[in-house]
């Protein structure tokens, strides 16, 4: 017996009230605030100022810089994460010993607070007491005296590595579920026809995984572009502004300098970037079905 729409409505109310009050309405107001001169103070009047904030943004080097870094960060983390997670998912679907251990290890970052992940990697990257430089030193490799997180060249690559580590679980789990849902018949049929492992990967596994890959990389790109806690703990956006992701820039504008309107405009600009990512991937999806 299907739910009547009255029953459905009654059941939805408890969730709808908080969602509308604390998510939908604030979101609408947040988007609007980007077109105002709202500031943090208690009795400051807010005025509609049209596109002024956006003019200011375009001429703000730090904003342009933060978006550039945000895109480099999101793109690299997502790409490396995807390659590593795909490899791991394929391994975990093989009958290997100790794969339970690898599987459990791959899930651990999911359970850890981003702040703790940040602290942990800070200890790894410590210039003197850190394990990374010690390993480089013992292996007679270059770089053993670099202060990774304070170095203008290396800070961004270093935080990207941490981002990859922290996001492994979700991507691996999604890809593993995808790999396991591919029917064995396809592989067997291809093997009978004489297709080697590599060929089967290109002609069966990858095409079959396409929808999962598209979904998880899109989500990863967006999550990473919106990321905050990890880099906040690792570098606070420094040195200089070398790792200042868009959310860190926005946080500083809003809650350090009290520029609510300007920070909201920055949020609006982030939405535009995210919308572009979505349009791009949805078009990929449509192409595939037609």
């Amino acid at each position: 017996m299907a739910l009547t729409s009255r029953e459905a409505f009654v059941l939805l109310i408890p969730a709808m009230i908080p969602i509308v009050a604390l998510s939908v309405a604030p979101l609408a107001r947040g988007i609007y605030l980007g077109f105002t001169d709202s500031r943090a103070g208690f009795d400051v009047k807010t005025h509609f100022i049209g596109l002024d904030n956006f003019h200011r943004l375009i001429h703000d080097d730090l904003f342009v810089n933060s978006f550039k870094i945000g895109l480099i960060w999101a793109g690299s983390v997502t790409f490396v994460q995807f390659c590593l997670a795909l490899g791991l998912a394929l391994l975990l679907s093989q009958p290997l010993r100790f794969r339970w251990l690898a599987r459990s290890l791959a899930l651990v970052p999911w359970a850890m607070p981003p702040v703790v992940v940040g602290i942990m990697w800070k200890l790894v990257f410590q210039p003197q007491a850190g394990v990374l430089n010690e390993l480089l030193y013992r292996g007679h490799l270059p770089g053993s005296n670099i202060d990774w997180l304070s170095d203008f060249t290396w800070a961004l690559p270093a935080v990207i590595v941490v981002g990859v580590w922290a996001g492994m679980p979700q991507t691996t789990v999604a890809l593993l579920a995808g790999v396991q849902s591919i029917s064995d018949d396809l592989h067997e049929a291809a093997a009978v026809d004489g297709a080697g492992a590599l060929r089967r990967f290109w002609t069966i596994t990858l095409p079959q995984l396409r929808p999962v890959i598209l979904a998880i990389t899109t989500l990863d790109l967006i999550w990473n572009f919106n990321s905050f806690g990890l880099v906040y703990v690792l570098t606070l956006g420094g040195p200089g502004h070398a790792t200042e992701l868009p959310m860190l820039f926005a946080y500083n504008e809003a809650f350090k300098y009290g520029e609510f309107g300007y920070a909201a405009a920055l949020g609006d600009a982030m939405v535009i970037v995210i919308a572009c990512i979505l349009v791009f991937t949805i078009r990929g999806r449509l192409k595939e079905t037609t």
Binding site: V10, L96, P246, F260
Partner: protein
Amino acid sequence: MVSSHAKRTRSLQYGALVFYMLFLAFPLLWLLSVSFKGPRELVELHPHLIPSQWTFENYGQALHGEIGIGGVTLLHAAWNSTKVATFTAVLTTLVGLPAAYVLARQRGLISKIGLGWILLSQMFPLILIIIPIFLLLRSMHLTDSHIGLVFVYVVWTLPFILWMLQSYVRGIPRDLEEAAMVDGASRFTVLRTVIAPLLAPGVVVTALFAFITAWNEFFLALVLLQTPGRTTLPLLLARFVGVEGIVRLGPLAASALLATLPSLLLFTVIQRWLTRGLMSGAVKG
């Protein structure tokens, strides 16, 4: 010949597996190692993975209140986190359960809008939502309070919680309900006597996941909480890193591990059901 080829593939696979395990595990091992080293060993120029002298000193300092900012101890912050995360878990699950049932069972416009919102809510940068929420809570004198933080957490965790719950509801065959309703039971009775018992494990898993999410959350707490006495664990740790943690690596590592322990334990309990619940709808869908 075939078998030697297969053997080579296997050993390559094991090699790759070892690489993955090292990449995933070595930062964790290093954190453990640092947490068991004494202050003198921590400033040595060439550190070792295995401490030359094991000590619980760091854990002692973390637990006896020598870690902290503005007089807030680790245990005090843990208590704050427990309160906030528990209320968040209970409230989100209660609020989400009826709605999840509708999303799973109703194939109409409402469900489409609901599922669309769940997806969309993952896309928006939090900064757009948090500024208006900050203004709203401030006008109600609820910024810098645990109540305000719980409200925000409930709404923030809800999309994911709804997604999980509705996938568990979908796992219960519709026929069961229909059979009971044909026998004359009302919708409410069916929900209580047929659905609730079958859904109970899924609800527990979901509530625990909400607990973990709230326990780990940092950004919203950073924006909303000011008074040191109300600090949650991630906030305390982040402040400690900034102020003195970097000169007191041992206690920092010990407190970071202690703060992770509860969510790691809960996660171990639920992970099997969690990944199953998340992926069941996603892959086929």
